[in-house]
Symmetry: C2
Subunit: 342 residues, 2 copies
Amino acid sequence: MNKRQTTLKDLAEKLNVSVATVSRALKDHPRISQKTKEAVWQLAADLDYEPNQLALSFRNRQMNAIGVVVPKIIYHLYATAISGIEDYANAQGYNIIICQSNESMEREKAIINELITSQVAGFIISLSSETNNFDHFTRLQKKGIPLVFFNRECEDVDADRVIIDNFQASYDAVDHLISTGCRRIAYMGGPAEVQISNHRLKGYQKALADNGITVDERLVQHCEFDKESVLSHARRLVYGPQPPEAILAFSDQIAINTMIACKERGLKIPEDVSIVGFNNEPVTELIEPPLTTIDQPGFLMGKTAAELLVRQIENSDTVIKPEKRILSSTLIIRKSTNRNRL
Amino acid sequence: MNKRQTTLKDLAEKLNVSVATVSRALKDHPRISQKTKEAVWQLAADLDYEPNQLALSFRNRQMNAIGVVVPKIIYHLYATAISGIEDYANAQGYNIIICQSNESMEREKAIINELITSQVAGFIISLSSETNNFDHFTRLQKKGIPLVFFNRECEDVDADRVIIDNFQASYDAVDHLISTGCRRIAYMGGPAEVQISNHRLKGYQKALADNGITVDERLVQHCEFDKESVLSHARRLVYGPQPPEAILAFSDQIAINTMIACKERGLKIPEDVSIVGFNNEPVTELIEPPLTTIDQPGFLMGKTAAELLVRQIENSDTVIKPEKRILSSTLIIRKSTNRNRL
DNA sequence: ATGAAAGCGCTAACAA
DNA sequence: TTGTTAGCGCTTTCAT
């Protein structure tokens, strides 16, 4: 029990050579005799020697770990993105430390602070919905710590980012709704601080304008992510004198809760109202009716973010101009928008 | 850019005192003069000093991090359990390093090995479905590294574990099915290596026996977690000459795919066949019909596992007898079992 | 071809 | 009350 790990010193003492020699032998250093090397290798195997990563990290003044900060891992997009990050990061020899901000800016700040003191090699971050102050990110940059945003980006900080074209995705979704004959189209947005929600709002507005439809401000809602908030905002839409003919939601969760409000109001989907979500969560094809939604490449998003981050980490001397990678998303058309009023 | 972190040495030099004095002053050591302390505190604040966790960990020969190894974080139970772990662990000053085995034993072994060399303080593990060899766990124990299993436990290793009473939960579910008039009841189990699947099988068998129902071995299936595997096993059940009147599934995902096979076969749920799942994933109340399922306290499971682990870590000198914490689960009855044949 | 020594940031036993 | 020293495990420069 509690057997100490074998160290270089242990090997050196048993072999009556110096620690330096053992260290070199293990890395197959050219100027160590074959005989010594073999003795070292043999003993290392016998004693189950494994280099102490913690000591290595300490010496390098940097952990071989990446800090990943996401709002919540139960959101399918983040769970899949994390797999993408892990996949690439592990292959490159990095562990990932996943932390959830739980949509709290304070928590996000605290996490980043802690991980800084742990000397993580870099950060991959998707903002909490509350985050409206960006000092903790600029602080990272001042310290020269690599940083990549994904999905929920931060326009005010000039860092690498991986996103989809939220404007276009939203534009296309609205365009699809219009093509099925809807004209009174509502937008159930996320919290007003979430920049991507606003990008989607812009796409929504532009699509309406391009089709000669006047934007009715009463059809735009900004809700929090909890069920109650969504329901209350959705009710404002559907219990009004003129319920919308279609609703574009910021996320599948919001779309689903909006569907609940619609059903509660007695509106049939898609006959009375069409619904479009965002993220293509697996649940969207299991509900009734299956939900039209925008598929985001979560795994690829994560993988790309990890690539950009590792690139930064491994080129910490050279200055790389921050890059914006825009991945393509796909509108998945299902029954929730399957009607034709034309 | 790339400004080095302030160290104790920096503070010491500026103040013309020794590093040791600074170190003590920062911890409010009783034998340092108030004057010195205040000077140190002031300068530390000015220079934004933060202790280097990596150096601390190195010195303690242990990271302030816990390794968490789960099959997949997209499974809702694990996502919620992780939140519970994170919650408690962070409060106790530990970070968590989450790794996914992706149901692969090789990956699980590799992860554990890596985290050992990183000197994590302990492990919280839920086995991959493939894991049928337990050397990597006994290795941890030989090294005296704290270990807690949760949900998918390992009976062959004597370690702390946090589980629900799978036998009882399954027994109760079958009992419920019988009470609604079903007698031909099938079990769609997980992979045969998954011990909790077998515990549930035992509960299923006992409930049948206790109600005077002969167990028909053809009604017991063991499938993998991918959709295709579930569908093919489910089809064996429903396309037979005598389809079951009810099906207990090892997980909600299996239950949902089984429902798909039932619908494909033209069986109505619950009129022709009742279905029960496991885990109470959020999706279960959104599908048609809503799924009867067993709710597991994921968050509490994680939190409890973290408690047990931290207890081990912080009492590494004393030997604590491994403990088995059994949390209670709840059968949530929904429409998928809402019929009465009696 | 090998060894000695310094140093990464911090703490603690021992000295003064 | 403060300083000196050694050491955690490893790499690397400089000697030999």
